[in-house]
């Protein structure tokens, strides 16, 4: 059920010649449940990251199967799919967080701009400074609010003086929409904030190192609707300066914040396309079943 050699060729051609027609033409409905070849256009005109034939194994388990897709610059792309389908796993490939899992093995090509992120000369530390990450559960460090945000700039030597650092911390908190709430309590522990505030603190912490891409793994799953709305608003604003990949279980959220959507199923990338099209006119039966709530 994995992609055949011919399809691989097609995918590669797509990468080389972005305007080449892909195997599936628009408007054709795939009713074959067994078909695991990616439906939709995996390429974009202005890619920030390019992933080709990415496979991930955890020991014997094949968690990501031959996934190829582009992530466009300054777009918000949403990964959706049933639990355990590999969304987090794929997300963690993009900043090589899977390196920290001893059993995980990643193959395939992932490019950030024109750099292969697995190349020898790429320092994983610098890669992660360029591709930041926000986790499902807010995980502020057991330090003050100020120190939480200052952490990244400090370790990357981004500022020379205390005044610069102060400015950077304030600016990051402002962009994360948190500054009003924490202005007066910068020295209190980050863990004393509410869940939603903690998550925005983690976003502030991530944008303080000025990454190019921000990965968000279900950033709102622990939050109430008001905090969720705030973060969605924030994602919309951040799109001006960053490329954002968001994993979410909420179809509405994907529809609200993203321009493109990718649907994963048991390790396969089933369908990818414009968010509008995916939600109004899914082409693969599996996608349709999922977004209409028939399973998952």
């Amino acid at each position: 059920m994995s992609t055949t050699a011919i399809d691989t060729q097609v995918a590669l051609n797509g990468a080389l010649n972005r305007n080449a027609p892909l195997r599936q033409s628009a408007g054709v409905q795939v009713t074959d449940y067994e078909n695991r070849q990616t439906v939709g256009k995996i390429t974009v005109d202005n890619p920030k990251m390019v992933c080709r034939e990415v496979n991930v194994h955890y020991g014997q388990k094949h968690a990501i199967k031959n996934v190829s897709l582009d992530i466009g610059a300054n777009e918000v792309i949403a990964f959706i799919g049933p639990s355990g389908c590999g969304k987090s796993t794929f997300l963690r490939c993009l900043n090589r967080m899977n390196d920290t899992i001893p059993t995980a093995r990643v193959t395939g090509q992932i490019k950030l701009d024109d750099d292969d992120i697995h190349a020898k000369e790429i320092d994983v530390v610098q890669l992660r400074a360029r591709v930041g990450m926000v986790f499902q559960k807010p995980n502020p460090f057991p330090k003050s609010i100020y120190e939480n945000v200052a952490y990244g700039p400090r370790i990357h030597g981004m500022v020379n003086t205390k005044a610069e650092l102060d400015d950077l911390v304030r600016e990051s908190l402002e962009r994360a929409g948190l500054i009003k709430e924490v202005e007066k309590r910068m020295l209190e522990p980050g863990t004393s904030l509410s869940g939603g505030q903690q998550q925005r603190l983690c976003i502030a912490r991530a944008i303080a190192v000025n990454p190019e891409v921000i990965l968000m793994d279900e950033p709102c799953s622990a939050l109430d609707p008001i905090a969720t709305a705030k973060i969605e608003e924030l994602i919309d604003e951040l799109r001006e300066n960053y490329t954002i990949v968001i994993v979410t279980h909420s179809m509405q959220q994907a529809a609200r914040v993203s321009q493109r959507t990718a649907y994963f199923h048991l390790g396969d990338l089933i369908e990818i396309g414009d968010t509008d099209q995916i939600f109004t006119n899914p082409r693969h039966k599996l996608t349709e079943d999922y977004i209409t709530g028939r399973f998952g």
Binding site: Q126, G132, F135
Partner: protein, 459 residues
């Protein structure tokens, strides 16, 4: 004690348990649902009513019996014996008791004493019989009471749990009262000591030679109780030990928790912990027979004079002994820092070492401080290694190559051998013990403070 009576009481209580259960079933009409508590609780309720009052009677009797018996017997003695002064009378009573228990005593042939002893035996037999009757009637009365009291509305569970609660409280206070008792006795003896040797001299005096004269004209036996050299020696050896144990322990904890493969960790951690299981005597002769001569030879090779028993040898070996205290506990607390903290740090582009020094260590600090303080108190209280490797001479020195002695070693030497119990020499041991206790207490308080402070900051 009355083992047979106790056994009988136990059996009765077991019977009461079953009776109580049965009764509960009966009053509930066979429907457990009708009962306030599960039937077992009614059983326990009956068993407690059977056992506790009877036990109380037994305990009262055990406490009161000897006094009452003696009084009765003395009252029956001839007047000339009764009117003896109290201490002489005590002797007579002691004789009498010996006679009763069949020991050979000089007064065995005295008919008055023999007669009194017989009466004592007789009274004791009557008393025991009365005790049986009293205890058994209380037990059966208790069962009867419980039998009548058991009804579906009886809150047997609450009653039984209340009693269990009392037992738990009593057990926990045992430890507390024991501590208080020990502290009081140490304080009391120390006060006796400080009546003979002023506190300031004890704490700050520079001369320690606890030999007091048996006769005033003996030579060289003035007795000096300045404990400063002991404190200095303890500090020196513990300091050396911590210099060894803290860095090695912490670094091995970091290696084990952050760098080692799970396989290596599974092997190395228990191996490290074995260090803590080696008896300190073994460390002692390792220090005295292997390390000390080695240090002396090395010293000789580089032209340093090293005493054959040196603070360095004792401190080094003690340090090795307490490595597992630091490493094992620190490893646990570092491991307990949530993985999400590490992920958060790595995702910001931090290296492993940055993550360790800036996130993991601060988060684990309270636990690490706790483990270090535990190791310190272990070092201060350690005796065997020091006895064997550091010597007995109370030198006031900061030179680790000389022989020194510690508080614990001196306590041992002060209390070994035959001693009068009120000589300053013996009492000095209690004063030293008091100091040890105070230092440990202060360390613990500091540890608690530190932990709480960081808790507030980090959680």
């Amino acid at each position: 004690m009355q083992p047979l009576l106790l056994l009988t009481l136990l059996l009765l209580s077991v019977g009461a348990y079953h009776l109580g259960r049965k009764r509960a079933f009966a009053v509930a009409g066979g429907q457990i649902r009708n009962l306030h508590s599960l039937p077992g609780f009614y059983g326990f309720y009956a068993a407690l009513w059977c056992g506790l009052p009877a036990l109380a009677v037994l305990a009262l009797w055990a406490i009161a019996q000897p006094g009452i018996l003696v009084n009765w017997v003395v009252a029956g003695l001839p007047p000339e014996l009764q009117n003896l002064p109290p201490d002489r009378l005590n002797l007579v009573v002691n004789d009498l008791k010996n006679l009763v228990s069949g020991n050979f005593v000089s007064s065995a042939s005295d008919p008055v004493m023999v007669e009194a002893a017989n009466r004592y035996r007789q009274l004791r037999a009557i008393g025991n019989a009365a005790l049986w009757v009293a205890v058994l009637s209380f037990a059966i009365g208790g069962i009867a009471y419980a039998w009548r009291a058991i009804s579906p509305a009886l809150r047997a569970r609450n009653r039984v749990e209340g009693i269990i609660n009392l037992f738990l409280i009593a057990s926990s206070t045992v430890a507390i009262f024991t501590t208080i008792g020990i502290v009081l006795s140490v304080v009391f003896e120390s006060l006796l000591f400080f009546r003979q040797v002023p506190v300031s001299e004890f704490l700050f005096g520079l001369q320690w030679s606890p030999q007091t004269a048996l006769r005033a004209d003996q030579v060289g036996s003035s007795g000096a109780f300045g404990a400063a050299p002991l404190f200095a020696g303890t500090l020196l050896i513990s300091g050396i030990a911590m210099l060894v144990a803290v860095p090695i322990g912490l670094m091995s904890a970091l290696y084990l928790s952050e760098y080692a493969t799970p396989k290596f960790r599974a092997f190395a951690k228990p191996a490290l912990e074995i260090l803590a299981g080696i008896p300190t005597v073994v460390y002692g002769f390792f220090a005295a027979l292997t390390v000390a001569p080695l240090i002396r030879e090395i010293g000789a090779a580089v032209g340093l004079h090293v005493a054959s028993e040196s603070a360095l040898a004792a401190g080094l070996v003690m340090g090795i002994m307490i490595i597992p205290f630091v490493s094992s506990l620190s490893d646990d607390v570092i491991n307990a820092v949530p993985q999400s903290m590490r992920d958060g740090s790595y995702a910001l582009g931090a290296t492993k070492s940055e993550t360790i020094t800036r996130v993991l260590l601060p988060a684990a600090l309270p636990g690490i401080v706790g483990s270090i303080l535990l190791a310190v108190s272990r070092a201060i209280g350690e005796t065997m290694i020091v006895v064997m490797a550091a010597g007995l001479s109370a030198n006031l020195t900061a030179n680790p190559l000389e022989a020194v002695t510690t508080v614990t070693v001196q306590i041992v030497t002060l209390l070994t051998g035959d001693q009068e119990f009120d000589s300053p020499k013996t009492l000095a041991a209690f004063a030293l013990g008091l100091v040890l206790f105070a230092v440990t207490l202060i360390l613990n308080i500091i540890a608690l403070r530190v932990v709480r402070k960081y808790r507030e900051q980090y959680e």
